[in-house]
């Protein structure tokens, strides 16, 4: 175009750019002024922004990004925001710490706060094992029913939460141990069969060999009644399960009960004291208590 003569459009008197589309040629009009000013303004803004804010990543020799005169850091401000949120939540939690568990459960506003806090803490920390809503799983007690191995009272739940079950690092943890009758050769296979039949009988299930069950009654009285009680209803003080109800932590079939007696089963739960703050533990206790409809 430069070598050619300049074209002037006769209608507007404006020079053309030489670009033509379908015979229509483009006029070389200036950019709209308002548009140009906004463009200049964005350039000016970007320079100011680069000076004030961290903008250029990894300069050679500097190793890291430019800091900007404001020394702003998203990471720091997020950390500050989280701290502020924690402080705020601590203040709300103070009311929970100050109140007794019974007060929390009967005071409408404290209860609603504790239930909301407890639900979210449960989802974060407990649901992995106990299931969402406390449904439980094999070896992980269901919290939504009325069966409690150790205690189902508000204080009892709080104690379990704080100290855990068979959590060796906590001297106050709830602890008991069932012997492995088979593995440690305390009972023979036949004897275990007898005990299993007796347990099936007292839990209201079908038993094929009634004689075996009768033999098992004596063995039960000698070996198991110390913890599980003479009638097999269990003992909360040592976390011995009630064997006469329909609830089975590790399964209630003949096979499962055999395995339990042969190997013994001792589940663990970590202590949450020190890992969760006081307010959260109390909120959890109230929430879990409500899952099981209280005791």
């Amino acid at each position: 175009m430069s070598e050619q003569e300049k074209e002037i459009d006769q209608h507007t008197g404006v020079e053309t750019t030489g670009h033509a589309w379908d015979g229509i040629k483009e006029l070389n009009n200036p950019l709209p002024r308002w548009w140009l000013y906004i463009w200049y303004a964005t350039i000016a803004f970007s320079i100011v922004y680069m000076v004030i804010m961290p903008a250029i990543p990894a300069l050679p020799g500097l190793g890291t990004n430019t800091r900007g005169i404001g020394d702003h850091s998203d990471r720091v401000s997020v950390a500050e925001q989280i701290d502020a949120m924690r402080t705020e939540r601590m203040q709300a939690g103070q009311a929970l710490v100050a109140a007794s568990l019974e007060e929390i459960e009967t005071d409408r506003s404290l209860q609603q706060f504790a239930m909301a806090a407890g639900e979210s803490a449960f989802g974060d920390n407990c649901a992995t094992c106990h299931g969402a809503g406390g449904t439980g799983a094999k070896g992980y007690p269901r919290l939504a029913d009325d069966v409690w191995l150790w205690s189902g009272t508000l204080d009892g739940i709080e104690y379990t939460l704080r100290h855990g079950i068979r959590h060796d690092e906590d001297p106050d943890t709830r602890f008991s141990q069932m012997p492995a009758f088979g593995r440690d050769r305390l009972l023979s296979s036949q004897q275990i069969d007898d005990v299993v039949n007796h347990v099936l009988l007292i839990s209201g299930q079908d038993v094929h060999d009634v004689r075996s069950a009768q033999r098992g009654a004596d063995l039960f009285a000698a070996q198991c009644a110390t913890c599980h009680g003479e009638d097999g209803t269990g003992d909360r003080s040592v976390g011995a399960p009630n064997l006469t109800d329909r609830d089975w932590l590790f399964g209630g079939s003949e096979e499962e009960i055999y395995t339990t007696v042969y190997n013994a089963r001792n589940a663990h739960m970590p202590a949450w004291e020190g890992r969760l703050d006081d307010a959260t533990i109390k909120a959890l206790a109230v929430y879990v208590h409500s899952l099981g409809v209280g005791e």
Binding site: D9, T12, G13, R108, R142, D145, V147, S290
Partner: protein
């Protein structure tokens, strides 16, 4: 390649001087009109401004914990108060219905009377009119303003201009300030605003509205209607040849020309080309060119023309609210026909009545109390140690009134249902009472258990909540899950 050739490179004719395709704005100096439409416009302005500034101060008793404000959009509390009506977010369809009604109302009025909204009710019109009134107070009427703008700067010119802008800004601030009153307790915000203790958003929105009022009504004026506003385009599609619009009756006015006293009126029109209609027009147009996009149909040209017609002893109404068909009829010597009732006006009206009825029915029959029963899904049911089946529920009780309530809870429909609500003991009669706070949502954990043998084919039951004071009963059907037998 196209054959269109706009440019002839060989032997170009002398290029005409370049001309601007985009013309600059011409300053408009609307002259003050006198007459019935000007009076109507003052009245409309007074009503609109009065409503806008006074409504936030209307009180309505609402009980404790909530401002006693008749009209309040409480965003923080997620509620909207409108006199006796309390709208919650889940009922936002009432607001949508209101919008649809407003749109249909605009359609109807436009199809009947043209753009009366633009001329009398639009905030842009109202505030611009107010701003021109202020301008006139400081700088005088049209001729004086034109003279003043041509004069070099002097003390007199400076104080008039500065005074005008100060009053403009004051009005702008009052506009922005009144806006935020709709979103907070008006008294509280008015007290805290000036001592710097109002929420940041209040200052932000007051600032934005102050700026937009000043810019739109003070400096941009008719350009808003011509270039920014979509309504003229939409309204143009809604009005037709039967709509009453501000119309120059060319059948009567043409041919126009100056007229000397005593001259005969035969063989000429009534328009003496005095241009009074152009001088009073806030949009800077000539109505005699016919209906046009810029025209907001404020009818000030009618007032101006009627004034002149009286002076020259001709009948008034050379410019008047008239329809295109009527003017055309007269022009061809027929009797003018008016058709205000037409399929489109009937349609708008019927649809409006229908929507208004549905909304009124909904509002009149809507309760101020709502019960939501949320069934636990995990676990769906629990078998207790004695074999009983238990289901868990969350009750959400929504109270949209200013009174605290006490609801008794009962279950029917399955045998042997036992209810338990966390944190509540049944009263002496064995009934659980649920307290519900005013203007709030209360949640309760409910568990329902039933002996295994009572679980039959039916897996539904009804929860009955009865307001012990009013006797109002809420029945909710909900499902009960049990192991398959």
């Amino acid at each position: 390649m196209s054959r269109v050739t706009l440019i002839t490179p060989k032997s170009p004719p002398p290029a005409p001087p370049p001309q601007d395709l985009y013309s600059k704005r011409k300053q408009i100096y609307p002259k003050l009109a006198h007459g019935k439409f000007r009076t109507l416009k003052w009245a409309a302005m007074a009503v609109m401004l009065g409503v806008y500034y006074l409504v936030p101060w209307l009180r309505w008793p609402r009980g404790a914990g909530v401002p006693d404000q008749a009209v309040l959009a409480d965003f923080a509390g997620e509620r909207f108060f409108f006199f006796g009506i309390e709208i919650w977010p889940q009922e936002a369809y009432y607001l949508a219905g209101l919008m649809i009604l407003a749109a249909l109302g605009l359609f109807l009025v436009t199809s009947l009377f043209g753009r009366v909204w633009c001329g009398y009710a639009c905030p842009q019109t109202v505030w611009t009119d107010l701003y021109i009134w202020v301008e006139r107070a400081f700088e005088g009427d049209r001729a004086a303003r034109i003279r003043l703008d041509k004069k070099p700067w002097s003390f007199d010119k400076a104080w008039r201009k500065i005074g005008k802008h100060i009053v403009w800004l004051l009005i702008a601030f009052l506009t922005g300030g009144a806006f935020i009153l709709y979103f907070h307790d008006a008294r509280m915000i008015a007290e805290t605003f000036f001592i710097g203790e109002a929420p940041l958003s209040a200052y932000w929105f007051a600032g934005i509205l102050t700026f937009t009022t000043y810019a739109l009504a003070g400096t941009m004026r008719e350009q808003v209607c011509t270039y920014l506003c979509p309504w003229p385009r939409i309204q143009g599609a809604l009005t037709d040849e039967h709509a009453l619009n501000v119309t120059y009756r060319y059948d009567r006015g043409e041919p126009r020309g100056p007229h000397r006293k005593g001259e005969s009126w035969d063989g000429r029109g009534d328009c003496i080309d005095c241009k009074q209609c152009v001088q009073v027009c806030p949009m800077g147009i000539d109505i005699r060119d016919g209906a046009q996009l810029e025209c907001i149909h404020c009818a000030l040209c009618i007032d101006a023309c009627d004034d002149i017609m009286k002076k020259i002893d001709r009948p008034t109404g050379l410019i008047a609210y008239d329809t295109d068909t009527a003017v055309a009829c007269r022009a061809s010597g027929q009797k003018p026909k008016y058709r205000l009732i037409r399929p489109r006006t009937i349609l708008y009206f019927v649809v409006m009545v229908m929507i208004a009825s549905v909304m009124a029915f909904g509002l009149l029959n809507r309760g101020t109390f709502e019960v939501n029963v949320l069934k636990d899904r995990s676990p769906p049911y629990i078998q207790l140690s004695d074999g009983d089946i238990r289901n868990g529920y969350t009750l959400k009780l929504v109270n949209k009134s200013g009174d605290a309530r006490s609801m008794s809870l009962e279950a029917h429909g399955m045998n042997g249902l036992v209810l338990d609500v966390t944190g509540l003991e049944p009263n002496d009669e064995g009934i659980i009472m649920l307290p519900v706070a005013a203007h709030g949502v209360d949640r309760y954990r409910l568990s329902v258990s039933i002996p295994e043998e009572s679980v039959d084919g039916r897996r539904h039951f009804f929860l009955l909540l009865t307001d012990v004071n009013t006797g109002e009963v809420h029945t909710n059907r909900t499902s009960f899950m049990a192991p398959a037998n």
